[in-house]
Symmetry: C2
Subunit: 556 residues, 2 copies
Amino acid sequence: MANPKNILFIMFDQLRRDYLSCYGHKTLHTPNIDRLASMGVRFTRAYIQSPICGSSRMSTYTGRYVHSHGASWNGIPLKVGEMTMGDHLRKAGMDCYLVGKTHMRADEEGMARLGLEPDSVIGARVAECGFDVFERDDGMRPEGPDGFYDEGGAQAYNHWLRAKGYESDNPWHDFANSGLDAEGNVLSGWFLKNSSEAANIHEPDSETPYLTGRGMEFMASHDGPWCCHLSYIKPHWPYVVPEPYASMYGPEDVQEVIRSDAERENTHPVLRAFMDTAIGQSFSRKEVRDAVIPAYMGLIKQADDQMGRLFAWLEETGRMGDTMIVLTSDHGDFLGDHWMGEKTFFHDASTKIPLIIYDPSPEADVTRGMVCDALVESIDLAPTFVDAAGAEPAYHILEGESLLPILRGETKETARDYVICEYDYSASPIADKLQANVRDAVMFMVADTRWKLIHCEGGYRPILFDLENDPDELHDLGDSDVHADVIAMMYDRLFAWARRPSQRTTRSAAQLVEMRTKSRGRGVVLGVYDENDTPLELTVKYRGRKAPNMKNRPDG
Amino acid sequence: MANPKNILFIMFDQLRRDYLSCYGHKTLHTPNIDRLASMGVRFTRAYIQSPICGSSRMSTYTGRYVHSHGASWNGIPLKVGEMTMGDHLRKAGMDCYLVGKTHMRADEEGMARLGLEPDSVIGARVAECGFDVFERDDGMRPEGPDGFYDEGGAQAYNHWLRAKGYESDNPWHDFANSGLDAEGNVLSGWFLKNSSEAANIHEPDSETPYLTGRGMEFMASHDGPWCCHLSYIKPHWPYVVPEPYASMYGPEDVQEVIRSDAERENTHPVLRAFMDTAIGQSFSRKEVRDAVIPAYMGLIKQADDQMGRLFAWLEETGRMGDTMIVLTSDHGDFLGDHWMGEKTFFHDASTKIPLIIYDPSPEADVTRGMVCDALVESIDLAPTFVDAAGAEPAYHILEGESLLPILRGETKETARDYVICEYDYSASPIADKLQANVRDAVMFMVADTRWKLIHCEGGYRPILFDLENDPDELHDLGDSDVHADVIAMMYDRLFAWARRPSQRTTRSAAQLVEMRTKSRGRGVVLGVYDENDTPLELTVKYRGRKAPNMKNRPDG
C-alpha cells in the first residue's frame, strides 16, 4: 500500500459545517474547499467529543474521549502522561509540527513533579500537547482589568504586525479584530455590533492569510515525513473580517434561524440556562445575527480563498501528490439557532463538524468525491494518521478508529453504533446559576443515526431528539413516555461506554493475551496438590532439589 | 488538632478478615492484633477495589479506583503520571517509605517517553509507586522453564539468607517456602500437599520476622515525620510456615467450608469458569483444605506474634505515642469457600478485608475499641493519611475519603452509599476458556450494606446476593424477577459511578469554581452587542483606543 508521505492537518476554529457550500450553504460559496471534497471523502456524520475549543482539541490530539483524558474545559490542563498524536506519529517515524492554535494548557504542576523542564525537548512537547512547535498562535489576546487571558497569546503575530507598521500595544485587537470610525476610534470586535465593520487591517495581514503563509513556510523548510497541524483561529470570534470580505455579505445572505417558540416551553432546565446566558439572549436578537453572520460568512469566504492559495501552492511544489490533506473544525457555532450563541451545547449546529479527507494514494482513487454517512468522531483522526504513517494504531490508548479503510473503499462504515460528546460546565458561570457542584455540572450526549440523547448530571430528565423525523432538533422528546424504550436503549449505550477500560493504556490487547499463559512458564504453580499432578516441564525447577536441615539452627 | 507525627501502614497479603479472632475466628487467636483493635477502630465493612494483589494495591496507593488508574491486573504497569500516597504525603511534608511488597510494575515505556531515568530520585519514585524504597521485597522468587517470574524478586532476602548459611541458588524457595523430607529432598511449597510440612528454616529467619526486623531498622534510623509502608508477603502462598507454627493447627482447627451444592446448579457462566479452574477444583477437595488451612493459620499466628514484637518495640521507643498504626490486607482468600481458591472473585471471603486503625491523638480517645460498620474502601487510606499529615486531601485526584472524622468520633459513617470492586481477567487463562476478548473480560461489583451486585461484561445476566438474609452469599438472585427493582437500583449506582469525572485531576473543585468568573476579568467579553451594554470596568481595555487607518496600506 502506498501511504502518503506527509499529512497536512487543517483545522478551523468554530467553523460550522453547514456554512460550507459542499455541506449545503445556499448563499456562501466555498469552491476551494468543495474542490478538496471532490478529490477526497466528505463525511456527513463527523462529531466532536466536546463542544468547546480546548476539550474538543484535546480529544482530537489524544484520540481519546474527554472522560478519558480529563481536560474537560478550556484552561483545564491536559495531564502529564497523556499521549498525543505527536507521540504516536514520532514512534511511526513521522514528525508532528504545530502551526497555529491548540488551546493546550500545560500541566505545570505535573511537569514539575516529574522534573520535566519546559525548555527541554521532552518537556516542550509535553507542554505543547505533543507537538513540536513551528508557531503556536492561540489567536487570543484579550485583556481585562485582571490582565491578559493568555500571557503568550498571539505574541508572534503581534510582533509581525508591529514590524509591518501596526503601531499598538495590542495590534491583534486594535487592527486585526476591530474596525475604525471616521474619527480614528477603534471599534472593538469584542462588541457584536462592531462585527458589521471592516477590520482595520490590510487583508493579507489578517490572521487567516498570515497563518496560511506560516504553514507554507513550514512545509517549504521541512522535508518530511511530517504531519503539519495548520490550525486556524478564524472564523472564531471576535467576528470581524477585513475588506473585501466585510462587504461581501449582508443580512439578505443570512440563512433562516433554526428555532421555534415551542423550544422555549417546557424547556429542560439545563438547556434553558444555556439559552438564558447573555450570549443566548444576544444571539436571539435579529440585529445581532444580522451584524455577526455576514462577518462570520466573510471570514469563511476568506478562509476558502486561502485554501485556494494553499492548494495551488501544494500543487506547484508537488505536495499534492504525497500529502494527505485533512480539513475539519473543532466545533460549530449556534449563531442564534435554538436561542443560543457560541457552541456549548449538543445540537448538530455545534457538535457535527465538517470533515474532508483527501488521500493522495492510488488506493483512494475509488473514493474520490465520495460522501460518507458513517458515524465518525474526532478521535478517529489520530489513529487515521498513525495508520497513514504506516504503523499499527495503539488501540489500547487510542479510542477512535482509523478511517483509512473508508478512504480506500474497503468499507463504508465505522465499527461504532453511536458517538459520544461531553460537556463539563463546572468551571462556567452557568454552574452557579444552576447551583451545580463540580461533579454534577457535567453532560453527556450519545447519538446514533436516528436518535440523540443528552444526559445532564444532577438528577434531571434526559433530552431526546429524533434526528430522522426532526432533523432540526426542535422537539425535545426527553419526557415522552412513548419513547421510554428508546431512552432506555440510549442510556444502555452510554452505560456501556462509561464502563469501557479507558485507562488500561500500558498493555496492548496482544500483550494481555500473551500474559494469559506466561506466568506458568515462569514458575507460578497454582492449585497443584501433588507435584506429580502437573507436567514435569512446568515444575522442573522445583524437583529433585536437595538441602541440609536448617529448621533448628541456632539463631545467628 | 494534634495529628500523629508518623504513620505505620502495615499490610498483610491475602490475609482473610475472618481469620483474626477480633473478626470472629474461633480457633485462631490473634491477641496482639486484637489489642491494636482495642486501642483503635476496627472496621467491619472495609472493601478492596480489586481482588488481586497488584490492582488492589495500586488502588490503595493511588487512592483511586482501578477503572481510574488502569493497572487492572498483576503485571499491568501503573501508568506514568498517576500520583500515589507518596506524592501526596511528600507535598504534606511527610516522607513515604516502602519496606516490603508493592507488586508494582513500572511503566518503563512511559518513563522512557518522558525521559525519566530509573536511577534518578524522581524516576525511582515513579518506578516504585511513589515510595522511597528502604527495601522492596515482593516475596516471590518463582522460577520456571522460561525463567524467573520476577527478576528482582526477594533478592535482598535471598542474599540475607545466604549470608546466614542457607546455601542455595534460591533459598527463598528451598528453605523459606519448602519443607524437607528425611532424605534431604526439598518438598516444594508450590505443591499444596507440602503445606503440611514445616518450612526448612529457623523461624526467626523466615519472611515475616525478617520484614518485621527490617521495619524496625527503618523506623530506628529515620526521624520522621514518615509514613512507613511495612508490607508483608505472608500469609500469601506458598502456604508453608516453620515450626513451632507448622504444628500448631491441624484439620480439627479448620472452620467449616462455606459452600453449598446449590451453588453448582444454574451457576453464572463466569462464576462457573472460576470454580472450574485448577485452583477451584483443588480447594474444593478436603485434603487440600486440611493441608493448606492449618499452614495458613500458622502463618497468621506467626504474623500476630510478630505484631506483638513490633508493638512492644514501638512502645519502648516512644513511637506508640506519636505514630498512627494502620493494619490491613490487600484481599482475602477463598480457601475452598464457594468452590474456589485464591481471591479472584467478589464474595466477602476475598473482597472484605480486615482494617484496624489506631490513632494516637487525644482526639481519638473517644473511639478506642470502637467497631465501625461504615462502608469503607481501600482508597480511603491515602486521603486518611494526607489528612493525618495535616494537609487537605486532593479530592480531585483521590477518590476515597478521609476516615479521620470517624477515628475522632465526629461521625460514624462515610459519605458513600455503595462500594465498588473490579476485576479484569483479560490477561488470565479464564478469558480463553470463556472466549472473552480483552474488553469483555472485565467485571464490576457494587455493594451496599444490604445488596451486592456483580456485573460481568460480555452480555451475561448479573449476579446478586442479599447480604442481610444470606450473609454467606450462597444464593445468587441475579435471575430473580422478584429482585428486578433491586437489580435496576444497583445498576443505576454502577452507572452513576462509571460516569464520575475521574480524570479531571489537574484542577481542584476550588479552582474550577474560581474559574467561573475569571475569564471576564481577563477581557473575554461574550454576547455583548454594544460596548455601552456592559460595565465599564470589564471592558476598560477596549474603550477609547485610537488607531490610524491601515485597511488600504500597500502590501508590505
